[in-house]
Symmetry: C2
Subunit: 282 residues, 2 copies
């Protein structure tokens, strides 16, 4: 696979981790960063995530591949402008929602140069200092509406994600956004809400966290996630997230009803049903 | 610290992990297991967690310390019977709820021999094969109502938990059960309910788990936990768990209202508030 000159727009957790992996797998003939936050730009250079930081226009001009790794609200504004400036370049993104982004460039004359993708990896941290080596290995990457992209662009993107160790899934944007609401977005809402539940209690009982152990950490760690990433995701995937959130509250109310009515046989059944998740997560 | 002959009643995840740690730290002059499940008994012997498996009465007779590591419903029944049979022995437990257990022996003539304790560690797995080395290191252990226990018993228990690497907390059973509801029991309910939410969706959409990644795993891993351990915990801590569950549903409904009303400024605020959990979990 020929090395490409790659521009990464947004050198944070995702952009930075991608840079590490693209370099390690020999996919990049130089990586240019585009970064609005001067502290992040300096850190990305210092860490060697990127070779230089350039303004967007110049970065596009000097690259073969442009990867957008910015919050999804900024992405829907920026993607059409990026496509305005590309000729031969391949453009892809790492956004957590796909519907609005694809709609934003549906009629764009350069639509074919864009490959909508979502590498399914992240942590609750953000910024270039949070970048992780080998981050995407053995994770899924979803390509959406690939038939609307040029064949050469899809081919390079597929190869690149496979080289960095990901397995490919293809689906339309609608299905992606629905599935992501169920297996990613709702987890963040439950975690934020759980953190708020216990933090609220802390106002009257300051020792409430003394007993917190591994189980608690596991269920609230996502509550550390950055609102500037997550508010736009919830905005763009509002209807799906609301549906799942309603279902989740319904499920919680079943546990509540069991306790209120002291119906422990049904409580046992609910937990046994939940245990079937072992089939999915090892 | 003089080595003691120790009986562990219930050689599963907790009993087995305690056995490993008590042996490693040189606290045990032999460990006897008491185990109703013959497969677990055989496995515990095979793994060398215990030196022999004996009936309860004989195990108590031949030991200096008796540690109960069985589900909390079985424990409230068994603890008075164990105290009926002890003379010099120290009895402690590893149960996740404390109120009902302490009440069950309040008037027992041997109450002083019992030290109510809750080492705050566990995983979503169960049985002796799930036992983990160094499991309790750097975790908290709570001693409840220690003033009701004999001084020599409390002293040995404190020393033993410190030797296996735990830090001690003391509180009354009421506070323990309230705190445990907030930082342990509710995490399990949210995890069970989240698993059921997505498993329900899987009935109509079998590919729903294809995108599941680390964040999802983290928030649902507790959903693999054993109902025979957790139903009794929820029964015994019913009122506290109901209070926290109601508060948690209230918090979730705030997220729902933000999305319904498209009030993204308040959504941002809710998430920023949740981010304060970073102060608690690293």
């Amino acid at each position: 696979m020929e090395r490409k000159r790659i521009a990464i727009v947004g050198v944070g957790l995702i952009g930075g981790s991608l840079a590490l992996q693209l370099n390690e797998k020999g996919l990049a003939a130089g990586i240019v960063g585009v970064e609005a936050n001067p502290d992040h730009a300096a850190k990305a250079l210092e860490m060697g995530l990127v070779d230089e930081v350039l303004p967007l226009e110049q970065a596009i001009e000097e690259s073969d591949v442009v990867i957008l790794c910015i919050p999804v609200d900024k992405m829907t504004g920026l993607l059409p402008k990026v496509l305005d400036r590309v000729s031969h370049q391949i453009v892809l993104d790492a956004g957590s929602t796909k519907g609005q982004l694809i709609d934003a460039v549906k009629e764009h004359p350069r639509r074919g140069r864009y490959v909508a993708s979502h590498p399914m990896w992240g942590t609750e941290y953000s910024g270039p200092a949070a970048a992780v080596k080998h981050a995407f290995e053995n994770k899924a990457v979803v390509l959406c509406n690939a038939a609307e992209s040029d064949a050469d662009a899809v081919s390079w993107v597929k190869n690149a994600f496979q080289k960095i160790g990901m397995h490919l899934l293809e689906m339309n944007a609608h299905d992606h956004d629905l599935h992501a609401a169920y297996v990613s977005h709702i987890s963040h809402i439950t975690s934020f809400a759980l953190a708020n539940t216990v933090l609220e209690k802390e106002r009257e009982d300051q020792a409430i966290f003394e007993l917190a152990s591994g189980g608690f950490e596991s269920t609230v760690r996502l509550a550390k996630s950055n609102p500037s990433m997550w508010v736009p995701i919830f905005m763009q995937n509002r209807e799906n997230v609301l549906d799942v959130l309603n279902e989740h509250i319904t499920q919680l109310r079943k546990f509540k009803a069991c306790l209120e009515k002291e119906n422990y046989a049904y409580l046992q059944e609910l937990i046994e049903n939940a245990n079937r998740i072992s089939r999915i997560i090892k």
